[in-house]
Amino acid sequence: MNIVIASHGTLAEGLKNTLELILGKQDNIQCLCAYINDNSIEEEYNKLNLKENEKYLFLTDIEGGSVNQYILSKKNENIKIISGINLPFLVEICLNNNIEDSLEIAREGIKIIEEYDEYKEDFDF
């Protein structure tokens, strides 16, 4: 699956970097980091290597942001957009290529960690 992570600042690159520490190199992922220099989003978008007739999953940082709005303006039948991306989503989509499952994992993946449960071993012998 072709993936583009798009963010305000360097979150996109940071997410990719962290993801690759866990899963190894991901050649199918490109990043768009907006506002890290004087370039417009459009200039950054044009630097992406997007092939005609190929499908791309754009993962944006936050729904109401300008990055998401810009990608939305480019939307066509080959572009799918998901906003509010997190690391659990990325790990799951890269391992299993299933958007619906990954969305569920992403939602389950953000939670309050209270304290560790008492350890019980799974083998009783």
């Binding site: 520490l21 866990i22 899963l23 190894g24 190199k25 790990v91 391992l95 299993n96 560790y116 449960d117 008492e118 350890y119 019980k120 071993e121 799974d122 083998f123 012998f125």
Partner: protein, 153 residues
């Protein structure tokens, strides 16, 4: 059966719980370590890092052969993790079953160690132990995640 023995000083973490799980689809993780067995906090923390559909056992190196020789465990694909190379040799010397290779995936920098492979530092003492393991006909592969190239010792 033992699917793979991994030496990793972080024990269970992202690479083990996601990358190796996806690659090997192991049924259980067995941690062989003498210190953690008596440390309830660390055991709870490790349990939390373990994928939810994977069984976890934490045993001392002495006790781990009892578990791995149990008939009920023989049918499961077991991913065994030890914290360091010394424990690895002790485990191999238990002769639980024939070991073809070990995987080394992350050894922190320590005094008098040098980088051998990505994120894996070795001291002279550790290299000597690895030579001993190699003499037993066991392949030693440095590889953090399945997608990385293997560096053989």
């Amino acid at each position: 059966m033992i699917q793979l023995i991994r030496v990793d000083d972080r024990l269970i973490h992202g690479q083990v719980a996601y990358s190796w799980k996806a690659f090997l689809n192991y049924d259980a993780i067995v941690i062989a370590n003498d210190e953690i067995v008596g440390d309830e906090f660390r055991k709870s923390a490790l349990k939390m890092c373990c994928p939810s559909d994977v069984k976890l056992a934490i045993r001392s190196i002495e006790d781990v052969s009892l578990l791995l020789n149990n008939e009920k465990v023989k049918n499961l694909k077991i991913f065994v993790i030890v914290k360091n190379i010394f424990d690895c040799l002790r485990l191999i010397d238990k002769n639980i079953e024939k070991i073809e290779k070990i995987n080394i995936g992350g050894l922190e920098k320590k005094e008098n160690s040098e980088l051998f492979s990505k994120a894996s530092y070795l001291t002279k003492e550790e290299k000597n132990i690895l030579e001993k393991i190699k003499e037993k006909g066991i392949k030693i592969e440095f590889q953090l995640v399945p997608k990385d190239d293997i560096k053989e010792f």
